[in-house]
C-alpha cells in the first residue's frame, strides 16, 4: 500500500435503477387515469464505501447482477450516483466491452482514431502511436479492411492495443479477456503488470478466479450491490470461493475454479 492519496474514493455510493418498462402504452393510460404505477426499484449499488490506492491492481468479484458493472460505470463517469459521491484522481480508461466504440463500416485504422478520440485522446497523439498500436494488435494486413469483416477476437485485440497505449491513471477492464487467445491474453496481462509497476492503477473484473488471483493485489467481493469483503486477494477469493462452494459437491481449495464456475445458471440469470 502507498502513502499517496487514493486514486478512487467511494463514499456511501448508491445507484438506484427502475425495473420494468419505463414507457409503454399501458403506463401512459395509467398515468392519464391518474393512477401512478410505480416501477420497482433496484439498488444496483448500495451504500458502498471503499478506496483504491495508486499502483494497485484491484479485482472485483461477485455473481451476475451484484453491481460490478454499475460500479465501473460510476467510476468511469458514464452514469452518476443516486446518492453519495466518488472522488476520482486522474484520467480513467474504461474498457467495459470490446469493440464497443468501433464502427463496422470503417477500416481498422479509421476505427483506432475513432476509438482513441472517444476515450479522450488527441487525434495527433493517436496517429503518433498508430504503428505501435497495429504492432501490438498484430493486425498489420487487416488495418485497411472494414471492421465488419473482423472476427470478435480481432476486434478485441484492436480494442486492447488502443487501451494499452492510453495514458490513463486508472484503467478498467470488465471481463474483456474472454475472446482473445492465450498468447495475446498473456501479452495483455504482462502489460497490465507493467502499468501497476509504473504506479498506475488497474481495476479488473473477471469471473475467472485464477486470473484475479494471479493479477490482483487487492480484491473486493460484491453481492446485491453491497460490500461483502475487501482486502488481500487470496483471503477475499478464498472466502468468495468457500461461499460459492457450499452449493457444489466438493469444497476443497483445489477446486476453487470449478466451484465458482459451477454456479447454477438460475442464480446467474
Amino acid at each position: 500500500m502507498s502513502s499517496e492519496a487514493p486514486v478512487i474514493e467511494a463514499h456511501e455510493v448508491t445507484k438506484v435503477y427502475r425495473l420494468g418498462e419505463h414507457q409503454s402504452l399501458q403506463r401512459t393510460f395509467a398515468a392519464l387515469r391518474g393512477g401512478r404505477r410505480e416501477n420497482h426499484e433496484l439498488r444496483a449499488v448500495d451504500e458502498l464505501s471503499f478506496s483504491i490506492a495508486p499502483g494497485e491492481c484491484f479485482g472485483i468479484v461477485g455473481a451476475n447482477g451484484s453491481g460490478k458493472s454499475t460500479l465501473l460505470q460510476l467510476i468511469s463517469q458514464i452514469t452518476l450516483p443516486t446518492a453519495g459521491h466518488l472522488v476520482i484522481r486522474g484520467r480513467v480508461l474504461p474498457l467495459l466491452a470490446v469493440g464497443s466504440g468501433f464502427h463496422p463500416e470503417l477500416t481498422g485504422r479509421e476505427n483506432v482514431v475513432l476509438f482513441g478520440t472517444v476515450l479522450g485522446l488527441q487525434r495527433r497523439a493517436i496517429l503518433k502511436h498508430m504503428d505501435a498500436i497495429i504492432d501490438y494488435a498484430d493486425l498489420v494486413e487487416y488495418m485497411d479492411t472494414p471492421m465488419k469483416r473482423y472476427s470478435s477476437g480481432m476486434e478485441a485485440r484492436l480494442s486492447f492495443a488502443v487501451a494499452m497505449r492510453f495514458p490513463a491513471a486508472i484503467s478498467i477492464f470488465d471481463e474483456v479477456l474472454a475472446v482473445t487467445d492465450d498468447e495475446f491474453t498473456n501479452r495483455c496481462l504482462s502489460s497490465l503488470e507493467g502499468f501497476t509497476a509504473e504506479g498506475r492503477t488497474v481495476i479488473f473484473v473477471s469471473h475467472d478466479a485464477s486470473l484475479v488471483r494471479r493479477l490482483c493485489t487487492r480484491a473486493m467481493w460484491l453481492a446485491h450491490g453491497r460490500l461483502i469483503a475487501i482486502g488481500d486477494t487470496a483471503e477475499v477469493m478464498d472466502a468468495y470461493a468457500a461461499a460459492h462452494a457450499t452449493t457444489a459437491v466438493t469444497a476443497a481449495p483445489a477446486s476453487v475454479d470449478t466451484a465458482v464456475r459451477s454456479d447454477p445458471p438460475s442464480r446467474s440469470r
Binding site: 492519496a5 452518476l80 476520482i88 480513467v92 470503417l106 472517444v118 495514458p167 509497476a197
Partner: protein
C-alpha cells in the same frame, strides 16, 4: 513512453504525487447533479466532435455504388420534385426570378435541415454502445451530425450563388447570408438537441419524426413565398423557424424585396424557444442518458 524522473529511481508505490503524462493532476467529484455540461465546455470537445463528424460523413456513403455522388444527386432530385409539385399547382410570385433559381436559393436550407435532423435525432440511439461504455461527452454526438451534414447545404447553396450571379442578381446584399447561415445553424442545433434528447427517453419520436419532416416541407416557403399566403396559412408558415431563414437567404442571394417584419419576428421567436428549450432539455437529461436509453 511515459517514464518520468520521479518514476526512474524511487521504490514503487512511494513516489510523490507528481503530475505524470497520464495524470494531469486533476480530481473529479462524481455526485448527483441536475446537469453537468456548460456551453463553455464545448470548444474543448472539438477534437472528438471532428472525428465523430468525419465518421458519420464517411459511414453515410459506405457500401453505396454512387457514394458521394449522392451529395449532388439528392438535392437535384428534390429540386425536380419541387419544380413539378409547386410550379404546376400554384402561381408563385417570384418577382421575375426564374422559378428554378427561386427554389434553388431556398433548397440548401431545407436539405440541410432535413438531413441534419434526420441523422441528429437518432445520434444518441445509434451511438448507444459509446453512450453506455465510454464517457465520451454526449453532446458531441448531435453536434457531429450538424457538421457531417454540411455538404447537404453547401452543394445547393453554391449552385444557387452561381445561378444568381449568372442572372445578374447578386449584390452586396449577399453579406446578409452570414446571419442567415447562423440562423439556420441555430434552428438545426435547437431541433437536433431537443429531438435527440427526447428520443433517448421516448421512442415515439422515431415514429413521428418522418411525418414532422414531411409536414415541415409543406410549411417551409421553398417552392413559394410567405407573401403569397393568406390568413391562417400565412401565420402557420411564419411560426416555422425555417421560414425566416429561407426568406432571408432569398433576400440576400436574389436581391428580392425584403421579407415582412412579422415573418422575422414570429420565426425568430420560435427559433429562440427552440434553441433555449433544446439546450435545457438536453443538458437536464444528459446525466441519466446511459441509464434510460
Amino acid at each position: 513512453m511515459v517514464q518520468t524522473d520521479a518514476a526512474a529511481g524511487e521504490p514503487l508505490g512511494l513516489k510523490p504525487a507528481v503530475a505524470r503524462s497520464w495524470d494531469p493532476g486533476f480530481e473529479v467529484l462524481v455526485q448527483p447533479v441536475r446537469s453537468r455540461i456548460r456551453l463553455r465546455d464545448l470548444p474543448k470537445m472539438r477534437g472528438v466532435i471532428g472525428v465523430l463528424a468525419m465518421r458519420d460523413f464517411k459511414a453515410k456513403f459506405k457500401q453505396s455504388a454512387l457514394g458521394p455522388v449522392w451529395i449532388v444527386l439528392q438535392p437535384v432530385l428534390l429540386l425536380i420534385a419541387f419544380l413539378v409539385g409547386f410550379h404546376s399547382v400554384a402561381a408563385v410570385g417570384t418577382e421575375g426570378v426564374p422559378f428554378i433559381a427561386f427554389v434553388l436559393t431556398a433548397l440548401g436550407a431545407w436539405t440541410y435541415f432535413q438531413s441534419a435532423l434526420g441523422m441528429g435525432a437518432m445520434s444518441l440511439l445509434s451511438n448507444v454502445q459509446l453512450l453506455r461504455r465510454t464517457a465520451c461527452p454526449r453532446v458531441a454526438f448531435p453536434i457531429a451530425t450538424l457538421i457531417a451534414n454540411l455538404p447537404a447545404m453547401v452543394v445547393p447553396l453554391t449552385a444557387a450563388l452561381v445561378v444568381a450571379a449568372a442572372l445578374g442578381r447578386l449584390s452586396l446584399r449577399v453579406l446578409l447570408l452570414g446571419p442567415g447561415l447562423v440562423w439556420l445553424a441555430l434552428v438545426a442545433a435547437g431541433s437536433v438537441s431537443l429531438a435527440s434528447a427526447l428520443t433517448v427517453r421516448y421512442r415515439d419520436l422515431v415514429a413521428v419524426l418522418p411525418i414532422v419532416l414531411q409536414m415541415g416541407m409543406f410549411v417551409s416557403p421553398v417552392g413559394y413565398t410567405v407573401a403569397d399566403l393568406p390568413g391562417l396559412a400565412r401565420t402557420v408558415v411564419e411560426i416555422n423557424p425555417l421560414s425566416g431563414v429561407i426568406e432571408m437567404w432569398r433576400w440576400a442571394i436574389l436581391s428580392t424585396a425584403p421579407p415582412d417584419a412579422i415573418t422575422f419576428i414570429l420565426s425568430g421567436a420560435t427559433t429562440v424557444v427552440l434553441v433555449v428549450g433544446g439546450w435545457l432539455v438536453f443538458t437536464r437529461s444528459e446525466p441519466t442518458m446511459a441509464d434510460v436509453v
